[in-house]
């Protein structure tokens, strides 16, 4: 095959498919290559997709019969845990009940496959329906460069050429390294290991247990005992008839701990606060994946070069600032912005790095880089060992005493607070952490 595409996209996950949708709508000729047997076959996420970009890609997505997503989020919970107790902040609001929802839970093998179907519909409706292609089950081995410029890719014995390549290959970004945008050795400090189970329930049981109504759903993040003293935390998200439950564990901290992620997952599952929500469920799938933590120091040194752009988690566009774990929304937005830059470049007939840096500027002007930059301090606060050791214990100690009624003279809340603080942290450490957190958030 020697014809040349406007663009080749490597990776049929959310970033790649969002780019593809944008190109298809603009009648650009592109080839998307996915190494999985189908889009989503290789993809794992927590998984909540936040924000409204999905409605931008697939208008009225919520009216679809089988829309690939599971539940919309209108109930959020943050739980602090020690070994025997849990203390939660719980927020539920009807405000989140109306489409386009502010967050939907997804299972990637289904969601990505559905989104790929939507992209195929867009290709079929485009003016160049026969010249754009979603190709699955093909591994891209190499990026082809000529005179320092990326001009195509090699898969098996075949070479494919394009004016521009979008790398949307995910967190294990081997091709991004190959083109020199990321160093081969990425420090473990900015990365985490995610492990997850999907546990199935009778749908009525699930809806009763989590107080769900119709397609409403809840997210629950956990800090403290959840991760067994290892930096990180736990999550539980409701799907249609299952929950996604797992841990995200700091890579460097896990390496120093000698602990196994799947043992920690068992420990998490048997904590009373968690066990009571998942009892009787059937484990359908166990999965794992590296996740970047939002530390910008592990980002590629740049997200563009001559003839190439990097989108989604390949550019480590993920953020956990303690409010929500975001990444799929960044993947979607960065994929759209990358494709829009390709379209601009096509119009200008210029695919040089000097032109493609428009992508960087667009990313910087979007909420993606503004959040990543704005919440770097929050990422650092979450790395503070006190956040997953002393603080959750302190909160649970406070709760234990505050909610105990035992026919003894009852102490006032501020007295309890003072004493539990003394037990777990120096006043100075707490003030430092508190003020850092206040500024960071």
């Amino acid at each position: 095959m020697d014809e040349k595409f406007d663009c080749i996209i490597v990776g049929g996950g959310i970033a790649g498919l969002s780019a593809a949708m944008t190109l298809a709508r603009a009648d650009a000729r592109f080839l998307l290559i996915e190494r999985g047997e189908w889009s989503g076959a290789k993809n794992v996420s927590g998984g909540v997709l936040w924000g409204h970009d999905l409605a931008r890609l697939v208008p009225q997505y919520w009216e679809e019969e089988d829309a690939g997503w599971d539940r919309f989020v209108n109930h959020r919970r943050l739980t602090f845990m020690d070994d025997g107790a849990s203390f939660s902040l719980d927020f539920k609001s009807d405000h989140f009940n109306t489409p386009p929802y502010s967050g939907v839970t997804v299972l990637r093998s289904r969601f990505d496959a559905w989104l790929a179907g939507k992209v195929q519909e867009a290709i079929d409706a485009s003016a160049v329906a026969d010249e754009s292609l979603l190709a699955t089950d093909i591994l891209v081995r190499e990026v082809i460069k000529e005179d320092g410029k990326v001009v195509g890719i090699r898969a098996g014995d075949d070479a494919f050429y394009a004016d521009c390549v979008i790398l949307a290959e995910g967190v294990n970004n081997l091709l991004t390294r190959q083109v020199g945008l990321q160093t081969d050795y990425v420090p473990a400090e900015g990365l985490a290991v995610g492990v997850k189970e999907v546990i199935r329930f009778d749908q009525n049981v699930l809806e009763d247990r989590f107080q769900l109504h119709g397609r409403s759903g809840m997210t629950n993040e956990f800090v403290g005992y959840a991760s067994g003293g290892v930096e990180g935390g736990g999550f539980l998200y409701t799907n249609t008839d299952s929950v996604s439950i797992g841990l995200v564990l700091g890579m460097a901290d896990l390496r120093g701990s000698g602990l196994k992620p799947y043992d920690l997952l068992n420990q998490f599952k048997t904590h009373p606060a968690v066990a009571d929500t998942i009892r009787g469920g059937e484990v359908l799938e166990y999965s794992a994946k590296v996740v970047s933590t939002g530390d910008m120091r592990v980002m590629p040194r740049e997200v563009y070069a001559d003839g190439v752009l990097v989108a989604g988690e390949a550019a480590n566009l993920v953020l956990n600032a303690g409010r929500a774990i975001q990444g799929m929304d960044y993947a979607m937005r960065s994929g759209i912005l990358a494709a829009e830059t390709v379209l601009e470049a096509k119009g200008a007939g210029n695919f040089s790095a000097a032109f493609l840096q428009h992508y960087r500027a667009a990313l910087e002007n979007s909420y993606v880089m503004q959040d990543l930059r704005g919440f770097q301090q929050a990422v650092q606060v979450l790395h503070n060992p006190a956040m997953f050791t002393a603080v959750p214990r302190m909160v649970c100690d406070f709760g234990r005493e505050f909610f105990t009624v035992d026919n003894q003279p009852t102490r006032k809340a501020y007295q309890i607070l003072r004493d539990v603080r003394r037990e777990h942290m120096s006043y100075w450490d707490l003030v430092k952490l508190g003020s850092r957190a206040a500024r960071a958030l």
Partner: protein
């Protein structure tokens, strides 16, 4: 431990993973591990506990062994190894195994 909460062994967990080309006898490893490094200079042998699929194991002589068949392509060993013992790549659908997530 609550009786009706299922904690699973790693073997039971991997039993729920769908692998590609599982029936095929000859598959080529996509990750190459220089276990000579693990077994000489490495101070922690961390892959034997951080790998979520237990692909790295220790024998009774405390020597590291690697087998790729259970690999779920998460990438953990590539980032966790700081001794340059792990050469990581994706499995080729034509020759390797790798994973097919049904849910993901």
């Amino acid at each position: 431990m609550p009786e009706d909460v299922k904690t699973l062994s790693i073997a039971e967990r991997l039993g729920k993973v769908a692998y590609r080309n599982q029936g095929r006898a000859e598959a080529k490893p996509h990750i190459l591990v220089d276990t000579a490094i693990c077994n000489s200079v490495c101070p922690h042998k961390c892959t034997t506990y951080v790998c979520p699929a237990n692909c790295y194991t220790l024998d009774e002589m405390n020597q590291v062994h690697f087998q790729f068949e259970d690999c779920i392509e998460c990438g953990t060993c590539m980032y966790a190894c700081d001794q340059s013992a792990v050469a990581w790549s994706y499995p080729d659908p034509e020759v390797g195994r790798g994973v097919n997530w049904n849910l993901g």
